[in-house]
């Protein structure tokens, strides 16, 4: 089925999120990025797509980077915890 493209939040967001989740579940991604994958939660993927869509028409990318860094701060803490455990 073709994904709904004209949703409230702009063309294709739902389809992109679905594709992102599928990619995140691929075996080689799980193997190669085990720590980061383990630290990501479902809403982090949603947040990532949401930020990308929110700023897709902004020529000034600082807002996108700032919001992505905010997301990164949360996830990095979890990654860091996993890294420490693995050491």
């Amino acid at each position: 089925m073709v994904h709904q493209t004209n949703d409230d939040s702009g063309h294709g967001r739902a389809g992109a999120l679905e594709a992102l989740r599928e990619v995140a579940g691929e075996r080689d991604i799980l193997n190669d990025y085990r720590t980061a994958h383990g630290a990501f939660q479902a809403e982090d993927y949603e947040q990532l797509i949401s930020i990308a869509w929110r700023h897709q028409f902004n020529d000034d990318r600082t807002k996108f980077k700032r919001e992505l860094q905010e997301l990164r701060e949360h996830v990095s803490l979890r990654i860091l915890a996993k890294l420490e455990v693995s050491e």
């Binding site: 073709v2 493209t5 949703d7 409230d8 702009g10 389809g15 599928e22 930020i51 996108f64």
Partner: protein
């Protein structure tokens, strides 16, 4: 999401002085709006009014600034003559259950038209700066070719699909609709952030030799990247510049499009006139020859009179000879009878003579003598034959036929010369060479743009290679002494996000391509009369479209087949790109044969969604045919007509 047009209003647009709220509302069971109108009445004007209101452009891929230069042509002429200078189109539609009202106005008070737009969502007025983005969010202009489709383009659509530019355009349109640019921008920013973390991690290393080694590697990669980016930027700028030039040339070509048609007609006329001259000379020569060889033809009447007289004399002479022969026979019979003999003709015994027999013989001999005395020779058949040979029965008829042919050709030549004179007046300052040079320039720019686009594609693998090297470094750094765990976590985040975005773009594009391929194949199989020989359509990763047979081999198709491929792809792209939205088709059936028209209406149109607005002329679909094919699926039906036989004035009336 659902988007549905509710109504459209026009003021002074094209031939329409006023269309006050043309109802376009449809329901699921009756999703079709039919607007009938003969050629030149105003179907395309209505179609362009919708496009202009939505995007400020009149044609596909036209930027609003270019459209503004042509706008004055669309101001209703009688209104302009009355001093009115406002042209306005309003579309009311429902999107995401909210009522929208979009108004676009052009004011022609100054030298160039001043165009303003007003968008309201319910009672809320949308800020000017956000209007285009809001409309783009609902119905992106880049995909307008798939839902505002001009049937005239159907003929060329298949061939256009086999050019790199068109395939790139289709792929780019789909990417835009899917939001791929959002992911690509994010991917680029994430790469920058990842690179920044790597640099910071390198600085934190304890070993100065490690620091130096990785710094050197990073610098080299950075230099390579900057060099590639610089080259890419230059080509990008050159491409943009060529694109602007091409647009200008296309505008010039559009401006002389009519003149091009005139120039083509002039060439055809000149060739016809030349051919006509030869034909006329040949007919005149044939007539001269007929006059030379058939000089007796005018005397045919007199000769016929003489012939009649000779025939009459010959008939009389033959009659007299027959009478003499009969009289001789009678004498012979009477003599035999007197001598007791047999009949000279039937050889039967004659009755015996009586007293009157001798008298009868005497009278018969006198009759022979009398007839012999008046006879003046036999019929002159030789004379009759000679006169007959002199009478010419064909030359006059052939001469008359030649005369008629001459009259026809002289009359056609007169018309051609008169038309040629009109065309020459129109083309006075635009010679064919100048018009041709525009076409040559367009061809040159097309080729330049193709070359630049090919060059741009070469940069991706180089940049991907640099990114891979950067990733390798990012993975090595955390294992070295002095590496900061926090930076390692940061780097792990960005590397993960970077690979996710890269794969997501590929996955999303590929999935959509497969969905478009599947939908287009299903549609084609339903549309084509003989579906046995086809497996469907194959859409390559580069959006190359092939019709394939049962064994998966590419199949060459007819012109009709190409149109069905185009319709199938447009339908599938429309489904992928504007799911749930309306579709407006101007003359979609004009180039299809009768069998396929019904099939397209019954099969293809319903696939298009919950609102299909069809602008048709009677040559492609009469009102009667429309009702018998689509029946109750027609939600609204209108007819465009000219109230006063004035080509600059049109009205629309409801027929159902």
């Amino acid at each position: 999401m659902s988007l549905r047009f509710e109504n459209v209003s026009l003021k002074n647009f094209g031939p329409y002085r006023t269309i006050d709220s043309l109802n376009l509302e449809t329901e699921a069971e009756a999703p079709i709006v039919l607007i009938h109108g003969e050629n030149t009445l105003g179907k395309t004007s209505l179609f362009r009014a919708l496009r202009w209101c939505l995007y400020g452009s009149l044609l596909p891929q036209q930027v609003p600034a270019h459209a503004n230069r042509e706008l004055s042509k669309y101001l209703n002429r009688p209104a302009a003559n009355d001093g009115e200078n406002l042209m306005e189109v309003t579309i009311r539609f429902i999107a995401n259950d909210q009522p929208y009202q979009l108004v676009r106005r052009a004011n022609f008070e100054g030298e160039s038209p001043r165009v303003t737009t007003d968008l309201r969502i319910g009672p809320t007025v949308v800020q000017q700066a956000s209007i285009e983005a809001e409309i783009g969010r609902l119905l992106h202009p880049q995909i307008s070719e798939f839902f505002l489709f001009d049937g005239e383009l159907l003929k060329d659509f298949y061939d256009r699909l086999h050019t790199d530019r068109e395939r790139d355009f289709i792929r780019g349109s789909i990417d835009t609709v899917l939001g791929i640019p959002a992911l690509q921008l994010a991917q680029r920013d994430v790469a920058e952030l990842a690179e920044d973390v790597v640099q910071r991690q390198t600085k934190a290393l304890r070993s100065s030799s490690d620091r130096e080694r990785f710094n050197r590697q990073l610098r080299e990669l950075k230099n390579q990247q900057e060099s590639v980016e610089k080259d890419r930027q230059e080509i990008q700028e050159a491409l943009q510049s060529a694109g602007v030039q091409l647009k200008r040339v296309k505008e010039d070509i559009a401006a002389v499009a009519e003149l091009q048609a005139d120039a083509r007609e002039q060439e055809t006329l000149e060739s016809s006139i030349e051919g006509g001259k030869h034909e006329e000379a040949k007919i005149r020569e044939d007539m001269r020859r007929l006059l030379a060889t058939g000089w007796l033809a005018p005397a045919a009447g007199r000769l016929r009179e003489v012939l009649e007289k000779v025939e009459s004399q010959n008939n009389a002479a033959e009659e007299k000879q027959r009478a003499i022969r009969a009289a001789h026979d009678r004498v012979d019979v009477l003599r035999e009878r007197i001598q007791g003999g047999v009949c000279v003709t039937c050889h039967q015994k004659l009755p015996p003579p009586d007293e009157s027999t001798s008298q009868q013989l005497k009278e018969a001999e006198e009759e022979v003598a009398r007839l012999g005395a008046t006879a003046d020779g036999g019929p002159n058949l030789q004379l009759e034959r000679r006169i007959n040979a002199l009478i010419d029965t064909t030359t006059v008829q052939r001469y008359r036929e030649k005369q008629e042919q001459l009259h026809t050709i002289v009359s056609a030549q007169f018309d051609r010369n008169r038309r040629l004179s009109v065309l020459k007046d129109r083309l006075k300052d635009n010679d064919a060479a100048k018009i041709r040079s525009l076409g040559d320039e367009q061809e040159r720019l097309d080729s330049v743009i193709d070359r630049y686009e090919q060059q741009l594609k070469m940069f991706k693998p180089r940049l991907d290679g640099i990114a891979t090297e950067q990733q390798k470094i990012a993975r090595q750094l955390p294992r070295l002494r002095g590496a900061q765990p926090a930076l390692a976590a940061e780097s792990a985040f960005f590397e993960y996000v970077r690979i996710l975005l890269e794969r997501t773009i590929e996955q999303y594009q590929e999935r959509t391509r497969m969905e478009v391929e599947k939908a287009a194949s299903e549609m084609f199989i339903k549309l084509v009369r003989d579906s046995q020989g086809y497996k469907g359509l194959r859409i390559g990763r580069d959006y190359r479209v092939d019709l394939v047979g049962h064994r998966g081999e590419p199949v060459i198709t007819s012109e009709g087949g190409k149109q069905l491929v185009a319709l199938s792809l447009i339908g599938a792209l429309k489904q992928a790109a504007v799911r749930g939205g309306p579709v407006v088709l101007d003359s979609p059936l004009a180039r299809l044969d009768l069998d396929h028209r019904a099939n397209v209406l019954q099969t293809w149109v319903p696939w298009l969604g919950n609102q299909a607005i069809l602008l048709v002329q009677s040559g492609e679909l009469t009102e009667h045919q429309a009702r018998s094919i689509m029946g109750s699926r027609i939600g609204q039906e209108y007819r465009i007509y000219r109230p006063n036989n004035d080509p600059e004035e049109a009205l629309i009336e409801r027929t159902q």
